[in-house]
């Protein structure tokens, strides 16, 4: 799928240039857009509008059961801004997002390059393993991961304990936030590497052999070919994959919740996703939960702004 995303526009652009320039303006494209726009408005617009309104209200359980919800202006946002817990969660989430996304990207890139370098059998084995990891339902995968890191019977502790001088028997990985998020990071990376690897690999297959051969003839080393020819050519793929990873890792929820069930539900173990869930579903403070959600939305927009802007620029050029 991602290969089409990356290359289709380029091809389309090429074609557009070949076809005669002046295009008649038909209303058909706009008519065709209507269904998806309507669906989008219902599917995303309604919740978004509801959430925005709620974030300016005092909305608790009684409001959920029909009491009128008083407007409180920016009160929810103000109390969030002055809440040190909230900023702790934001900082933790951003750090987790950045670390996890970059590690995922690095491993995914390496695997993609590896796939182009190895023979067919090895590549197929690699691809099938990646697909299996990718296809594994989150809950099933999490259960296995939690078993692996189990304090008493986990394979991880068992293996580490066998190293002479390492005393890891009964080490509780999920007991302190640092090791907790380390485990979470490993799991999330494991789950998202296949997507990155496949996307980048798809991009790599589009790099033409002729160009590489020419470069080789001109005396470019393998490293130079990788960094000056291949990487710039697949830069758009890497950019979009990184952006998606950043967004996914910012709103990571299932993995954290399930690790919390196995470890600790204390606030130090919260990321934005679980923080909102605790506020909304847990303490039934939907007003505050909406305010945090809106904040996360703005955060996401801010993070993807650079990418969206460069996308818009490309649009203008073509």
């Amino acid at each position: 799928m991602s290969s089409t995303v990356a290359t289709a526009p380029e091809k389309a652009a090429q074609k557009d240039r070949q076809v005669a320039k002046p295009r008649r303006r038909l209303p058909t494209p706009y008519l065709l857009l209507i269904p998806s726009v309507v669906i989008l408005l219902i599917g995303m617009g309604y919740p978004l509008i509801w959430q925005t309104i709620t974030s300016f209200q005092k909305f608790g359980l009684s409001q959920q059961f029909g009491q009128p919800a008083p407007f409180v202006g920016f009160e929810n946002y103000l109390s969030l801004a002055t809440n040190p817990d909230m900023w702790g969660v934001v900082v933790r989430s951003l750090v987790f997002m950045a670390v996890t996304a970059f590690i995922t990207l690095a491993i995914g890139l390496l695997l993609a390059v590896l796939m182009t370098a190895v023979g067919k059998v090895v590549r197929l084995t690699l691809q099938i393993s990646l697909l299996l990891a990718w296809a594994m339902p989150v809950v099933a995968a999490m259960t296995v991961w939690i078993w692996l890191f189990d304090r008493r019977r986990g394979v991880v502790n068992y293996l580490l304990d066998m190293i002479p001088g390492v005393e890891m028997n009964r080490f509780a990985w999920l007991e302190n936030p640092f090791t907790f998020f380390m485990v979470a990071c490993i799991i999330v990376v494991w789950m998202s590497v296949p997507f990155v690897a496949f996307s980048v690999y798809a991009g790599l297959t589009q790099v033409s052999d002729e160009v590489l051969e020419a470069a080789q003839l001109d005396g470019a080393s393998a490293w130079q070919r990788l960094s000056f020819i291949i990487m710039p050519m697949i830069r758009p793929v890497i950019a979009i994959v990184l952006l998606l990873q950043l967004i996914w890792d910012l709103r990571v929820f299932t993995q954290i919740t399930m690790l919390q069930d196995a470890g600790s539900r204390a606030a130090e173990f919260d990321l934005l996703g679980t923080y909102i869930y605790k506020l909304g579903a847990g303490s039934q403070d939907f007003g505050m939960a909406s305010a945090v959600s809106i904040f996360v939305l703005l955060l996401t927009v801010a993070i993807s702004w650079y990418y969206v802007r460069s996308l818009l620029k490309e649009d203008e050029q073509s």
Partner: protein
């Protein structure tokens, strides 16, 4: 060209989004009449506590009584609070009758989630119903949520280990604390309890005369900092540090795996645990299940395992957390009559007896004898008699949902400053209580 791709992309995006919010249907046909005749209703049960035989009984009896179908949907305890919050106000999706954790009753009754069933109460058992549960389901004298079953917590211990160390069943809480501390070794907890396991930890607060929250005028105030609560919290922190090898963050464990022999070492990891009464089905000598070789079954062995009720500060039984559930009719349900029929079946002598026979404390105490007279029934009844509920504050479910008590006890167990933490969490909890 690009535009058309964009349209395709948008369409895909919309499809993805819509798939994400899968619609939950599953409500029955629109019987809205005033009679129970033929009404199809849905009952939500929490967790697997109600055995299948009892579920089948309810379905059959309901069919016989009304001709309608009773659908039972099991909800996990973990996300029940969220599901109740979103489903109960919605007439199209609400279950008709729900089992709820007894401690959540005040929260939902106060916002008007349930129907007034005061007129039914005399017929359903009246004064014979377990009163602490009836109280939490009342608002302004009217009954909304009624008791479903009660459970209670008591101790299971390894007779072999206790005897080898020359210990006998303690009669006071202080003696209990000392005994289990002396039984701890590097590989065995004297008393296995998670550091964040607040549902058990509060027994030490209650035993010392402390409260989690008290009503000051018409406002609820968290009272972790009160003198008696402090005594209890301090005792618990010392007990955890001295007797348990569990992580300070553990809050919801299956302690019985620790009192059974570990297959790898042949020795248990705990000499004592506290657990709800039904845990005894999971405690005993382990052997492969003759019906399914992949599973292990535990067979209770009186020579190795024993039970006793957590002793109070001055002897007797300590007030442990009164586990159990309430049951109520959703105010938004269109099938009020059918729901009331179901309540009549639940509170019938036959069903109350069935509850008791399956180890669940029957809501109507007249049928408590159905629990039997073995040691488990005796321990259940004795511990339940002095058990205590969490505060009946409207915001109590929010306190539980925010995991504030897990957090507080976890920090206390990790060796934090009790006084400072109590003050900090008193403030956080009070903010949610009212």
């Amino acid at each position: 060209m690009k535009r058309r791709y964009a349209a395709l992309a948008l369409g895909t995006a919309a499809a993805l989004v819509l798939a994400g919010c899968s619609a939950t249907t599953g409500n029955e046909g629109g019987n809205t009449g005033g009679s129970a005749e033929g009404q199809n209703i849905t009952l939500w049960l929490m967790g697997g506590d109600t055995p299948d035989a009892l579920r089948d009984y309810l379905k059959t009896e309901y069919k016989d009584a009304t001709g309608g179908t009773l659908t039972i949907e099991e909800q996990g305890w973990g996300d029940a609070l969220a599901k109740l919050t979103t489903s109960l106000p919605d007439a199209a999706n609400t279950p008709d009758v729900v089992e709820i954790g007894n401690t959540w009753s005040p929260t939902f009754t106060n916002v008007g989630a349930f129907s007034d069933v005061s007129d039914l109460v005399p017929e359903l058992g009246g004064d014979k119903l377990i009163q602490s549960f009836v109280e939490v389901g009342k608002v302004d004298g009217a009954n909304y949520a009624l008791p479903y079953y009660f459970g209670s917590r008591y101790n299971f211990y390894r007779k072999d280990i206790w005897a080898a160390a020359g210990k006998t069943v303690p009669t006071t809480l202080a003696e209990f604390d000392e005994t289990v501390k002396s039984l701890r070794t590097d590989s065995q907890s004297g008393f296995y309890i998670g550091g964040s396991d607040w549902r058990n930890a509060i027994s030490w607060i209650f035993a010392n005369g402390g409260e989690l929250a008290e009503k000051d005028g018409d406002k609820w105030v968290s009272t972790l900092s009160s003198e008696n609560s402090q005594k209890g919290i301090t005792q618990f922190a010392e007990l955890f540090a001295g007797a348990s090898l569990a992580p300070a963050t553990e809050f919801d464990s299956t302690p019985w795996v620790n009192i059974n022999n570990n297959e790898a070492t042949g020795a248990p990891e705990a000499a004592t645990i506290i657990a709800p009464g039904w845990a005894h089905w999971s405690i005993g000598d382990l052997a492969a299940d003759p019906k399914d070789a992949t599973k292990m079954v535990a067979t209770w062995n009186d020579d190795v395992f024993g039970t006793f009720v957590l002793p109070g500060v001055d002897g007797g039984a300590a007030p442990v957390f009164a586990g159990g559930s309430n049951i109520a009719i959703s105010a938004a349900s269109k099938n009020q009559e059918g729901s009331r029929e179901l309540l009549k079946i639940v509170f019938s002598p036959e069903y109350q007896t069935l509850l008791g026979e399956n180890g669940l404390g029957p809501a109507n105490l007249d049928y408590a004898s159905a629990l039997g007279d073995d040691q488990f029934a005796a321990a259940l009844i004795e511990s339940a008699a002095s058990s205590k509920l969490t505060p009946a504050a409207p915001g109590w479910a929010a306190v539980e949902g925010a995991a504030l008590l897990e957090e507080f006890f976890g920090k206390v167990s990790a060796g934090g400053d009790i006084k400072a933490l109590s003050a900090e969490y008193d403030e956080k909890i009070t903010a949610l209580l009212n």
